[in-house]
Amino acid sequence: MEIVFENVDFIYQPNSPFSHQALKDISLTIKDGDYAAFIGHTGSGKSTLLQHLNGILRPTSGTVRIGDFELTTKKNNEIKSLRRKVGVVFQYPEHQLFEETVEKDILFGPKNFGMDVEEAKHNLPTILEEVGLPTDVLQRSPFELSGGQMRRVAIAGVLITEPNVLILDEPTAGLDPRGRKQIMSLIDSLHKKKRMTIILVTHHMEDVLRHANQAFVLNKGELVMQGEPVEVFQEEERLRKIGLGIPEELQLINQLKQTLGLPITYLHQSPSELGKDIAKALHAGGNR
């Protein structure tokens, strides 16, 4: 499903002394099957923008189109079916688990959306496999699981409603390095195998560089940059001015170019491959 924002403004508590414009004239397109990343520091408008994607908020002016749905200032009665198509995994989703078994928790969505619960139940083994959980967790309490596992349960609960678009807000926050890697590769496989459109919100610039194909940079409610992550991160100075950094490997490449004249191009190398490239460039002698 293609997602299009056209001149979207959003104002919290309009016409009051507390009025605050959180989004200013946002126009952007996320194509079907994209892996888009939104970056911007706390308070840049990321969360407000996300909440427009499944109709939690409606624009104060402008239009948001998600596939055939159109969100404008007017109320839309089909919001529930939109929410089924656009799944959201919030920050720390494990805080929202509440049922007594993992199975009941995962099936809450289908029940809530009035889907065929028996059919959803039938799909449980497949979904569990996708998120990398063993089937024997189904009858356990979600609260007995580790942080990483609870997060998978929360993701499974969103996947079972078969959304076309998956939005993840800081999906790896608080996980250890192994847990982070597993969640990021789970998202990769949903993107590649199920061709889902992925929208990632994160502070981890490394993840944006490694996984996303589109990056959108927000600052004070405005969309200030967009493009392929490698291109966006070229503009280190501009990003710094709005309080954002670039991935460490790109910082290193830039510094080696400036101080030693080493010509190294970032081509999604692994850290050790990058080390090898630097070693080679050093041996060849920088061209200062």
Partner: protein
């Protein structure tokens, strides 16, 4: 400052030990990074250090005082703790009230209280925010106020229990800079719990926990040599260390293992000027 002697702790009888026969010690004024994957026992360890938990077996002493039902109150004054979620730590309506809160229970005179609160807020560079409401601050600022609240009690040790986890990169940097600043002006033992090894690089010593035991202990440079072993227990060495490992395999040898980007670039610059 903190000595563990064969300490075990288990949350309930049916599950294994979260901390298992652990013996170790932390010196006065040391900055320790305590690392390990989720569930490795590091947070349990922290709670044992300030008497939030009492060991199932073994003994713990803090600043020469042995931890027991009778002494944990005394020990908590010596060991302050900054938690993960800055939101959950606020009780005051202004930054100043909040920092003063911990002192109210200690029977400190008002005069002394005002003095200590001001000094603590200056220490973390938050004095100019003293009359603001804590909920209007950024994550990094909130953690700095939480640190001030602990400094006012004047403990010997501050434990940071994954205190950077919920902060954005700027907030993380802010927190690390604050700790570095404290260490310059004060004698203080720091226990910094994290699973981010690039943050652990700033410590004097790293203790790696795995399955409730001390798996390794050493200076950051020493610990980061064990890239493969650390990855087997779910940890990842800092990116710069991985890049250097790749360079090293291809014939680039530096005098010392670089801990962060500046050390790497500076050493490469020296090396290439000799080439």
């Amino acid at each position: 400052m903190i000595v563990f002697n064969k300490v075990s702790y288990s949350y309930d009888k049916n599950s294994g030990n979260a901390v298992d026969e652990l013996s170790m010690s932390i010196e006065q004024n040391e900055w320790i990074a305590l690392i390990g994957h989720n569930g490795s026992g590091k947070s349990t360890l922290a709670k044992l250090m300030n008497g939030l938990l009492l060991p199932t077996s073994g003994t713990i002493s803090v600043d020469g005082l042995s931890l027991s039902e009778d002494t944990y109150w005394e020990i908590r004054k010596k060991v302050g703790m900054v938690f993960q979620n800055p939101e959950n730590q606020f009780v005051g309506t202004t930054v100043m009230d909040d920092v003063a809160f911990g002192l109210e229970n200690l029977g400190v005179t008002r005069e002394e209280m005002v003095k200590r609160v001001s000094a603590a807020l200056k220490e973390v560079d938050m004095y100019s925010f003293k009359d603001q409401a804590p909920n209007r601050l950024s994550g990094g600022q909130k953690q700095r106020v939480a640190i001030a609240g602990i400094l006012a009690i004047m403990p010997e040790v501050i434990i940071f229990d994954e205190a950077s986890t919920m902060l954005d990169p700027n907030g993380k940097q802010e927190l690390l800079e604050t700790i570095k600043g404290l260490r310059k002006t004060k004698k203080m033992t720091i226990v910094y719990i994290t699973h981010d090894l690039s943050e652990a690089a700033y410590a004097d010593r790293i203790i790696v926990m795995n399955e409730g035991r001390q798996w390794m202990s050493g200076k950051p440079r020493e610990v980061f040599q064990y890239q493969n072993e650390l990855s087997e227990i779910g940890l990842e060495i800092p990116l710069i260390s991985s890049i250097y490992a790749g360079m090293n395999e291809h014939g680039v040898k530096l005098e010392k293992e670089p801990l962060h980007m500046k050390e790497l670039v500076d050493q490469l610059w020296k090396l290439s000027s000799k080439m």
